[in-house]
Symmetry: C2
Subunit: 393 residues, 2 copies
């Protein structure tokens, strides 16, 4: 029994495990090795900044999931996960950053000792935290097992959110609303970019009444002027300048659940390209939000937005959004569906998306976005920030 | 030519490339695929929060390194890296989060087209950002190449810091000094953990005169009481309590260069275990710092510390430190040497370490640490925080 209160009921964790086992059966695997920290958290509640060493949750053919991690992180699992002491396995510290031995060799031995050396094993081949060496070590240690790729298997089970998950995401929405309000209070020509980031981070971590802020999976992104064409630059300590647009791509986070939301601020009189961009994006968003309802597909949702952009002479056909929920660095996306042409996944009530309606050209970037919950009718918006280009002198 | 000023001279980047090519020759590889964002930054200057999609720097047999990344991140490379336009390759957005196609397949094709399809290729098998799938895709796309594991090859070249790198780390040291000063100002029974984190983060990002703060590769860790036995728990929104010890494991960061430093605060009268722990650690640190000089080995450095602990009845033999420098999430360590028995690497002037002298038992954690530069004589300490257990009522 963990010392820290669980974020979800035991019934909810049990339902998640059932759902995952059904998906394993469909995928033809008997044992799952889960290295994505978001999936580890979703299955067991485990929460810690320990993903820089090899660790995983095992979903065995029967019984509780197992936590396998560094000894000191096994202590963290006892505090945060619902699983019992006998399901928590810590490995010795000389496995850490040691080219001569790899934790996955030990895991293979442990699985074999438990009689699970020969099953069909699913591994997350394309997850950040499952390195090429981890895979090689596990495969070599389980010569009689059949390993197959189950990247995204657990992520897909997370798509429809429970009432408690939605509550946390609404809190994250309140937090990101407060963060944008703070930006508008303090942004002005002359303020250094890093001082603005300090305000954003502090507001996000303080949170709102009843909900402290957690760390978002991505740091604030806020490139200005021409640099806004490069979507993933982080900040420096140069002052904000009049005559430049800056987008703020940030998220509120509560109990590791995210609500991303972007807005753009122009200091001074915005040039025509911003004014026209705003008009096209807002009109496109109305159309997208209208199509964002249960029964439609991801591509219909995206297509409604793109059709309006096209009317405005803007051709865009990449990804215009992705599912969100529980996450860890480096990404707050759920890495399953994409709001783009070709994705025919049918939207269901309780799915949650960041409708990421950014426009980037060679010398500017404009982001005005919403995060939402799919319902049978109009989507529920998680945050409450005026949907516009902000202009400040 | 990047629009943002380079953080290092072109001569320094050229020297880094030379050094890397010599190490490649020793390792018997002709072409290097570098996926560690810290290594990518060190070789080219590239800086962006884009490591959540596959990307890499290629060190080819001759000529400039190449940047290979998502199209919108190629824009970021133009802004931040010293390499020319012809060395920056962006891949189309439909390669992003698409199970049907992988960016590494495209990279293999590009390498083949450039006549580099058959060489001996080094890959970072155990780096976070080189997934099992990335490796499988690259290997399949280069059937005539010989792939070998060069995890850490570039990291090792980074061990001895240049004067400019040391300048940035000293600034990071000033920043972490300011962060700890702020903690002591505001910590008290009743303050919520997340409000304390807001202060820490804001102070770190604001930085010090002449040096704005960058985001550290790890968020602040500050577990209290029994939870401090679990080293990697992050914060919640419960208030700090009298009668508990809390360690603060944080880092200052400037231009991606880190200075980690931990201190412990006890609210109220510390129990004997803290008082004795402090005494043992401080005495051990004196001995360790005495041994931390050019010509000695990593294990001699660690051994001097452990010998004193043993005298105090504390047996510890894991890792008590690691090299530091430029880094990205999830870890600010350099992942080469370890301050522990068995590591016989000889210390050289200009190497930089976090002397991570944490003590954790079943129900407490005490961290009092230093970050330092190896010299011929006594090490240079990067931060300036009184070395003690802080007690506050």
């Amino acid at each position: 029994m963990p010392d820290i209160p669980l974020n979800f009921s035991r019934a909810e964790y049990a339902a998640r495990l059932d759902k995952t086992r059904r998906a394993m059966e469909s995928a033809g695997v008997e044992l799952l090795v889960v290295t994505d920290p978001s999936n580890m958290n979703w299955l067991t509640g485990y929460d810690g900044w320990s993903f820089y060493v090899p660790q995983c949750v095992i979903v065995p053919p029967h019984g509780e999931p197992l936590f396998f991690g560094r000894g000191m992180d096994a202590v963290g699992a006892r505090f945060t996960a619902w699983i019992g002491e006998e399901s928590i396995i810590g490995y010795p510290d000389d496995y850490v950053m040691n080219p001569a031995k790899h934790p996955m060799e030990l895991l293979a031995q442990i699985l074999t000792d438990r009689g699970w050396g020969r099953p069909r094993v699913g591994v997350e081949m394309d997850n950040y935290w499952y390195t090429a060496r981890s895979h090689a070590a596990l495969a070599a240690g389980l010569p009689d097992a059949r390993l197959s790729d189950t990247t995204g298997l657990v992520n897909w089970q997370r798509a429809v959110k429970s009432p408690t998950e939605l509550d946390y995401m609404r809190k994250a929405g309140e937090i990101v609303t407060a963060m944008h309000a703070r930006i508008l209070e303090v942004v002005a020509p002359g303020i250094r970019k890093n001082d603005l980031v300090a305000e954003i981070m502090a507001t996000g971590v303080r949170g709102v009444p009843g909900a402290g802020g957690d760390y978002p999976a991505i740091v604030p992104l806020l490139p200005s002027g021409r640099e806004a064409a490069a979507a993933h630059l982080t900040w420096d300590d140069r002052p904000m300048r009049a005559g430049e647009g800056t987008f703020f791509e940030i998220a509120g986070c509560h109990h590791r659940y995210h609500c991303p939301l972007s807005r753009t601020v122009f200091l001074g009189k915005p040039p025509q390209v911003f004014v026209e961009g705003e008009k096209a994006v807002l009109e496109g968003m109305e159309a997208g939000l209208e199509a964002a309802r249960a029964g439609n597909t991801c591509e219909e949702f995206a297509g409604a937005f793109y059709a309006v952009l096209k009317k405005h002479g803007i051709t865009k056909d990449g990804r215009t959004g992705y599912p969100i929920g529980v996450s860890y660095p480096p990404d707050w996306g759920e890495r399953t569906m994409s709001l783009r042409p070709g994705d025919r996944t049918v939207l269901e009530p309780g799915m949650t998306f960041h409708f990421m309606t950014g426009l980037w050209s060679d010398d500017m970037g404009l982001e005005i976005t919403e995060s939402l919950v799919i319902t049978e009718g109009a989507p529920e918006l998680l945050a409450n920030v005026p949907r516009q280009l902000f202009v400040k002198d």
